[in-house]
């Protein structure tokens, strides 16, 4: 008469109704739904921003030419400052939100999840501030 105890696992953060076009997030928190949509639209924007950035900095100009003076000339046009700010913000949020999903996949203890999410939150804020300050403060000639 052995009683079996189911291992207690935390509820999945997102519930998906079915495959395909109906696989929108159902239930879960409003934040998870927002996160699901954010991944998708930021991904489309980043696809253009990142690939253009890669081509400009590694193909059109070689990396060895992307010096301080090069950035000074480039930032004379405020468009590229805005471009880089949008790229920085979306890439950081998209990437660290992905890391949050991975952490949720492998960390099943509530305490460690809170810890992991706090570290990720701090990382976003720190790196976003570092990048933003650099882009905004970069002096032009």
């Amino acid at each position: 008469m052995a009683t079996t105890t189911e291992p207690s696992r935390p509820a999945a953060p997102r519930v998906v109704a079915q495959y395909g076009a109906s696989a929108r997030p159902v239930g879960g928190t409003a934040f998870e739904t927002f996160s699901w949509y954010f991944f998708r639209w930021s991904g489309v924007v980043l696809l253009f921003l990142v690939i253009i950035h890669l081509i400009l900095m590694h193909v059109v100009t070689d990396v060895s030419m992307t010096t301080y003076t090069f950035v000074q000339h480039r930032y004379q046009n405020p468009f590229w400052r805005v471009y880089d700010l949008v790229l920085l913000t979306l890439a950081l949020l998209h990437g660290l939100n992905g890391l949050r999903i991975i952490a949720d996949d492998y960390i099943h203890t509530r305490g460690w999840r809170v810890f992991a999410q706090s570290v990720l939150g701090l990382t976003v804020v720190t790196f976003w501030l570092m990048g933003t300050l650099t882009i905004v403060m970069f002096p032009t000639k």
């Binding site: 495959y19 395909g20 076009a21 696989a23 929108r24 998708r40 991904g43 489309v44 980043l46 696809l47 990142v50 690939i51 890669l54 081509i55 590694h58 193909v59 059109v60 100009t61 070689d62 990396v63 060895s64 030419m65 992307t66 010096t67 301080y68 003076t69 950035v71 920085l88 890439a91 950081l92 990437g95 660290l96 992905g98 890391l99 991975i102 990382t123 790196f127 570092m130 990048g131 300050l133 650099t134 882009i135 403060m137 970069f138």
Partner: protein, 129 residues
């Protein structure tokens, strides 16, 4: 991990490439932050990316970005096109083909300076290490 074939591999590659690109992004934010310490420090930091060995490493970055971008589109098609999931396997092979097609020309420009060809930088050819 499960025996999910193309579905599993596409998911696993998406995760690994995403982690790789994020890792590079954090490094890249640190190296641009060197600008706050003046032109010399910034240029010394950026020089690392011209080294041959770092050029080879950046091939992994380019491959990861291209795969992650193309597979992201595949995920969007599966999510928003009603028949999308029926073609996930074919789309996975299209993603791999498209990534390779984009990778080859970009890789050429990134690696060429190692062999003394500098199409994007006529004046500088950095050493391998």
């Amino acid at each position: 991990m499960y025996r999910g074939q193309s579905g599993m591999w596409s998911w696993l590659f998406h995760r690994i490439t995403g982690l790789g690109v994020l890792f590079f992004l954090l490094i890249h934010i640190v190296d641009i932050t060197l600008a706050g310490f003046g032109p010399t420090v910034y240029d010394d930091g950026i020089k690392i990316f011209s080294l041959g060995i770092v050029r080879v490493l950046s091939l992994a970055l380019i491959a990861s970005v291209l795969y992650h971008a193309c597979n992201g589109l595949r995920i969007l098609i599966i999510d928003f096109w009603p028949a999308g999931h029926k073609y996930q396997r074919q789309m996975f092979f299209a993603v791999v083909a498209l990534s390779i097609a984009g990778f080859i020309p970009m890789a050429f420009f990134v690696v060429a300076p190692i062999f003394g060809r500098c199409p994007g930088a006529p004046n500088t050819c950095a050493p391998f290490i």
